[in-house]
């Protein structure tokens, strides 16, 4: 399992494009929004948590189809299916690798982009906290979507279509935490709900995703 995790990370780093591209995309979204809505600092600081969350979500989406597609094409997935590790474990490890190469850099870079959007002072901690809690769910849900569409020639668009509605609860609670944090409000409820969704996704979706992969391999 550790081997698989290390290999996936090495692959993502060596193949390039992995986190570099996701971060660049995040940056571009963050830069484009002020062009769209205007440069007023008040407005920007009000919508900053939401923009950052949507940006992180979209950059996460960008690399989802790579989770299983390459391994499916070169036969690795067949071999892993006959190897002595359960497919549920493969799915969970691959989602973790995706999070480490995509979600984690986004979490770490988010404060920098927060500066660009005039995020209010107390918001930084909670922005990072909400992303750190929420992005694992994004990776896991994405891995589920990738598992559903792995057998399809042009699954990329369908993958986005399937995954984005599933992201709604995470996005809502995530931005709520970041927004309330920025405004200094009480945020116990949304943070608990955000964590709950992440835990539920991590606990249940590996089984659904593994079932989907087995169906796609036969």
């Amino acid at each position: 399992m550790i081997r698989l995790l290390l290999r996936d990370i090495v692959l993502a780093v060596r193949a390039g494009g992995g986190f570099g591209l996701g971060l660049a995309f995040f940056l571009i979204v963050t830069v484009l929004v002020p062009f769209g809505v205007g440069p007023e600092a008040d407005l920007l600081s009000r919508i900053a948590p939401g923009i950052l969350w949507v940006g992180a979500l979209l950059s996460c989406l960008l690399s989802l189809d790579r989770i299983f597609q390459l391994d499916f094409e070169d036969g690795t997935l067949d071999l892993l299916a006959t190897a002595p590790i359960p497919m549920e474990g493969v799915v969970a490890v691959k989602a973790l690798a995706h999070w480490l190469t995509t979600g984690l850099p986004l979490v770490l870079a988010a404060p920098v982009f927060g500066v660009l959007l005039n995020l209010p002072g107390p918001g930084y901690v909670w922005l990072v906290a909400s992303l750190a809690l929420g992005t694992p769910a994004l990776s896991m849900i994405g891995a589920f979507g990738a598992a559903l569409t792995v057998g399809l020639k042009r699954g990329g668009l369908l993958l986005s279509l399937l995954v984005l509605p599933l992201y709604v609860p995470t996005l809502i609670y995530g931005t709520e935490v970041a927004r309330r944090g920025a405004e200094g409000l009480d945020l116990g409820a949304p943070i608990a709900l955000l964590a709950g969704i992440t835990l539920a996704a991590l606990a249940l979706l590996p089984f659904a995703a593994a079932a989907a992969i087995r169906v796609n391999l036969r």
Partner: protein, 207 residues
């Protein structure tokens, strides 16, 4: 000689249509079985079913659990990893050693630190086959293992299979060329599923 693999009355299907029906075969320790049959006759489907990648629609496969190592046209070789990294990964997954021996058997020592992407097709294939040696599994289920191998490499592969059999392993190989092995052959052509043979077609419920 104990039997490692026993297949009885197996019907395999692809895309909801039965391709082979009533297949029975067995494989004992130290034995190799060569599958023959024209293209599209269902050899790949049969091998994938035996390897447990797809469900059979009828019949029985009895095999020691976790004994099968499967290798097909696609090698599962990652081009950005080096040869030895590729092998170490698989040996780690199967928890078996033997990376050095595997490199030696397929004469890959000189290429060990090259990224697999820089290998020729034949070298890549050799790397894919050397993976079998690090799985530590007793039954090799191989689908066209000699594609893009030259004569010397085929001899190398035949040697590896012979050593595997001598060590009490078994091999089920679909191939068109003569490997020079002491092996029975099994022609799948007579088992071609015929329309209306009934059993196990997925769409049968609709007929």
């Amino acid at each position: 000689m104990t039997s490692l693999l026993e297949v009885q009355d197996l019907t395999v299907q692809r895309g909801g249509v039965a391709v082979l029906a009533g297949v029975s075969l067995s494989l004992a320790e130290g034995e190799a079985l060569i599958l023959r049959g024209p293209n599209g006759s269902g050899k790949t489907t049969l091998l994938r079913t035996i390897a447990g990648l797809q469900p059979s629609s009828a019949g029985r496969i009895s095999v020691v659990p976790e004994a099968i190592a499967y290798a097909a046209h696609a090698d599962g070789v990652k081009s950005v990893l080096t040869v030895v990294e590729n092998l170490r990964f698989w040996s780690g997954i199967y928890g078996a050693g033997g990376v050095e021996e595997a490199l030696e058997t397929f004469e890959l020592e000189g290429l060990a630190d090259r990224p697999a992407g820089a290998l020729s097709a034949g070298q890549k294939r050799r790397l894919g086959l050397s993976r079998l040696l690090v799985t530590g599994r007793s039954i090799w289920v191989l689908d066209e293992p000699t594609v893009s191998l030259d004569r010397a490499a085929v001899a190398m592969f035949a040697g590896a299979v012979r050593a595997h059999l001598a060590a009490g392993g078994a091999a089920l190989i679909a191939t068109h060329i003569d490997l020079g092995l002491e092996a029975r052959t099994f022609d799948v052509a007579p088992y071609k599923a015929r329309a209306g043979s009934g059993e196990g077609e997925f769409d049968e419920a609709f007929l």
